[in-house]
């Protein structure tokens, strides 16, 4: 059914509203008023919950409801990520405002019986605050202080149904752009909103669009960069899987504003679920005439093709990405010329990140002023972070720019796992740095993160505790950039390898103090001379750890110890006089290098010890085996 004009779109929206009515009233109406509505069970289909079996739970729920003849009154949906991955698989029931955590397949009969037949909440599955032991059926503390703009529909609508997206104001921004705004007005709104690229560098989106529009050409292209390669980041994936139409709509808006008729989504081949959702979304948009010719009866012609990445981190860099779409090795090229002047097949091209695009429809609908009222002076709106590592509440959080790390890690994130001590937060992935405790209260935005030696990056936020060795973390990222360096420029190809060698030396206890100076000098050379962003930012993890955790480097070099007890070569396992002589460790040692008989203190042969830690894992007496 092709939508011929805005009226047809609005009529379809009016018709489709009933699809999400239950969820809409859930926000405003008390449970009593909502009686008689079909209940909606939303089973989180985010990457984490999906991996821990949520599709099976949804299936079982449907079977059980069917068996009890409730399938007319209760509908089961699998939307995108709820964000609270730590407590997955999660289920939300509308309009009853009940959220169940860590649901397993075995819980399904109980949920159906207690919740739907008896009408009681299943107390034991409600979220419990680990400190106060208070149960929450709704308004979980995890969501306090969060503001969902890019993720507004993720976890809320069924991603494979275009009608649900249309019911949730979908494609209204496109209609506004096509019939009530000129292309220049669209660009002005974006410029005034202060939206900046969410892929990492933070270039103003409106300005990028303006540059591309100004370049004279017979064809221009729009590219959506969905090559999310930062290890530990999955925000783009969640948007693509949970709300694919918002990306399509934003690309259409870009097409109208810039004057392009073709768009490409460059998506990782490692995200098969996201690819599937995009394929479904594109097919549906074509069916409704929202992609194709004379869209909504306007003069806009626009279509979108999917292009698959093939596992190269450097392809997140826009010129490398363009080369990859052209079917060649994804090596970056020197800028200028910028893609806005000479991009895909030599034509002006605008490359935007997934999260950036997902912000655009609400900006068009609600206006630049609304968006720019959120955030800090220079960074507007919100940012999605993939919060992970040694934090209690791992998950996807979207917070206004300017929120402090303390708020994200200790309030939303619920603090450090097992009551250990916070050591650092790593932002920006392999291009970013480690932020120490003293900056926990810095309001985070593009500028403040750069000022303290890290960067926003795509939004990975890894929390490190006392048991993480900062030298080893720097080495981990260096190994990553060394592997992913495309090899085009010497600074990055050779430089990252030399840095990795020096770090390996230090973690093995053979580093010298001169190595630190050498490394620092080399870092600055690479920063100044590498061709693209990957190389220029590759030294950041080393520079920031050298700046804030120099004492750890020195401990490795001078004292030959690893303070966090991570670097194997520097570890020494010793059995103390607390040993009761149970011979457990003797039996478990793979090298047979522990000697000792029953009830006598055992001894480790240091020459032969592999430092595998098997003895310590087995030992049942606290303090009988130490490592330092």
């Amino acid at each position: 059914m092709k939508l011929e004009n805005t009226d047809a779109l609005n009529a379809l929206k009016a018709q489709s509203l009933k699809l999400i009515e239950t969820r809409r009233v859930a926000d405003s109406v008390s449970t009593k008023n909502a009686q008689g509505l079909v209940r909606h069970v939303m089973v989180c289909g985010g990457p984490g919950c999906h991996s821990s079996g949520s599709p099976r739970i949804a299936e079982l729920l449907e079977e059980e409801l069917e068996r009890l003849g409730l399938s007319e009154q209760v509908k089961v949906f699998q939307p995108g990520c709820f964000g609270f991955c730590e407590k997955g698989p999660m289920i939300e029931i509308h309009p009853d405002n009940a959220t169940y955590c860590e649901v397993s397949a075995e819980d399904v009969p109980t949920i159906v019986e207690e919740h739907f037949i008896q009408g009681n909440q299943v107390e034991r599955l409600l979220y419990m605050d680990p400190n106060t032991r208070e149960r929450f059926s709704t308004n979980l503390p995890f969501y306090d202080g969060q503001l969902r703009i890019a993720l507004r529909n993720v976890g809320y609508i069924a991603p494979e149904n275009i009608l649900e997206y249309i019911a949730a104001d979908g494609y209204q921004a496109l209609a506004k752009v096509l019939f009530r705004m000129t292309p220049l007005e669209v660009i002005d709104v974006l410029k005034e909103s202060g939206l900046r690229g969410r892929g990492g560098a933070g270039f103003p989106t409106g300005t990028k669009w303006e540059f591309t529009r100004r370049s004279q050409a017979d064809q221009r292209y729009i590219i959506c960069n969905a090559d999310e390669g930062d290890p530990g980041a999955f925000m783009d994936r969640s948007v693509l899987e949970g709300d694919p139409h918002s990306v399509l709509e934003a690309m259409l808006i870009a097409g109208a504003a810039i004057g392009a008729s073709e768009g490409f989504i460059y998506v990782r081949a490692e995200y098969p679920a996201a690819i599937h959702r995009l394929q479904v979304a594109i097919a549906q948009a074509r069916e409704y005439g929202l992609l194709g010719t004379a869209i909504l009866g306007s003069d806009l012609n626009f279509d979108i093709q999917l292009k698959y990445g093939a596992g190269a981190f450097v392809c997140g860099e826009e010129t490398a990405l363009i080369h990859s779409i052209e079917g060649t090795r994804g090596e970056p090229s020197v800028k200028p010329p910028f893609p806005a002047q000479k991009g895909l097949w030599g034509k002006p091209t605008c490359v935007n990140n997934v999260e950036t695009l997902a912000n655009i429809p609400p900006i068009i609908l609600k206006g630049a002023e609304w968006f720019s009222s959120i955030g800090t002076e220079k960074s507007k709106g919100t940012k999605v972070f993939a919060l992970a590592g040694k934090v209690n509440n791992v998950g996807l959080v979207e917070v206004p720019m300017g929120t402090t790390l303390r708020k994200i890690i200790f309030d939303i994130g619920g603090g450090i796992k097992q009551h250990k001590t916070f050591k650092a937060a790593q932002t920006g992935g392999p291009s970013g740095g480690c932020i120490p405790t003293k900056y926990l209260d810095t309001p985070i935005d593009y500028e403040s993160l750069t000022a303290i030696g890290s960067m926003m990056g795509s939004g990975g936020l890894i929390v490190l505790d006392e048991e993480d060795c900062m030298v080893n973390i720097a080495k981990f990222f260096q190994e990553f950039t060394m592997d992913e360096s495309c090899g085009r420029c010497t600074a990055c190809r050779v430089g990252t390898k030399r840095l990795h060698e020096i770090l390996t030396k230090i973690t093995e206890g053979t580093g010298t103090l001169e190595d630190l100076d050498k490394m620092e000098k080399l870092c600055h050379i690479i920063k100044d001379t590498a061709l693209c962003g990957l190389g220029q930012s590759a030294p950041n993890p080393i520079l920031s750890t050298l700046k804030y955790f120099r004492d750890e480097y020195i401990a490795h070099i001078v004292d030959k110890t690893c303070p966090a007890g991570v670097c194997k070569s520097l570890l020494r396992y010793e059995i103390t006089d607390k040993c009761v002589g149970c011979t457990l460790c003797v039996k478990k040692c793979p090298m047979n290098c522990i000697t000792g008989s029953l009830k006598k203190i055992h001894v480790i042969d240091q020459e032969r010890c592999l430092k595998c830690g098997a003895c310590m894992e087995q030992c049942r007496v606290i303090g009988a085996i130490n490592h330092h």
Partner: protein, 162 residues
């Protein structure tokens, strides 16, 4: 690896796919994805065939294949075991998981067991950071893999019953 009949059938499928594309040279990466899907890997003769079909130097095809980590020139085992080496898994013991898998399978990452049953590989982040550290067998994610025993149990599910 494959007999002649199925090789011919694969080649025919690949040719049909290439013929169906409006733009061919520009779609090299898409063609390689398709070829890897049917052959399981990209041996020299397949690369050579694609080069001839698209009328481009085979060095160019090889250049692209060797550039992207998703493409492999060595056949994989029956089951592919991946260890996530993303940062979140790394700080929660991803490297220990990798060591343990290498130990249990008696191969290094990137290798295949002599019985051709398992290939061990590493990848970067599957977005299941809440379950870190994770291992992925044939696309199925197994989370919070800390104990050698748990790892052994997962692998056992993929071993033929003896």
């Amino acid at each position: 690896m494959c007999d002649t009949a199925s090789t011919n059938e694969f080649a025919q499928k690949l040719d049909d796919y290439i013929d169906s594309l409006p733009f061919k040279k520009e779609n090299l990466i898409g063609i390689l994805h398709y070829a890897q899907e049917i052959y399981g890997y990209l041996p020299d003769n397949v690369q050579w065939h694609i080069a001839q079909k698209l009328d481009i130097p085979s060095a160019k095809v090889y250049g692209v294949v060797s550039f992207y980590s998703f493409f492999t020139m060595i056949p994989r085992g029956e089951h592919v075991v991946n260890v996530c080496m993303g940062t979140a898994c790394f700080v929660r013991g991803g490297d220990k998981l990798k060591d343990e898998l290498e130990n249990q399978l008696k191969i290094k990452a990137g290798e295949t067991t002599p019985d051709n049953l398992f290939t061990l590989e590493t990848l970067r982040c599957v977005g299941a950071c809440g379950l870190a550290p994770v291992m992925i067998v044939d696309g199925k994610v197994h989370g919070r893999m800390h104990e050698a025993q748990e790892i052994n149990e997962v692998l056992a599910k993929y071993r033929p019953e003896s």
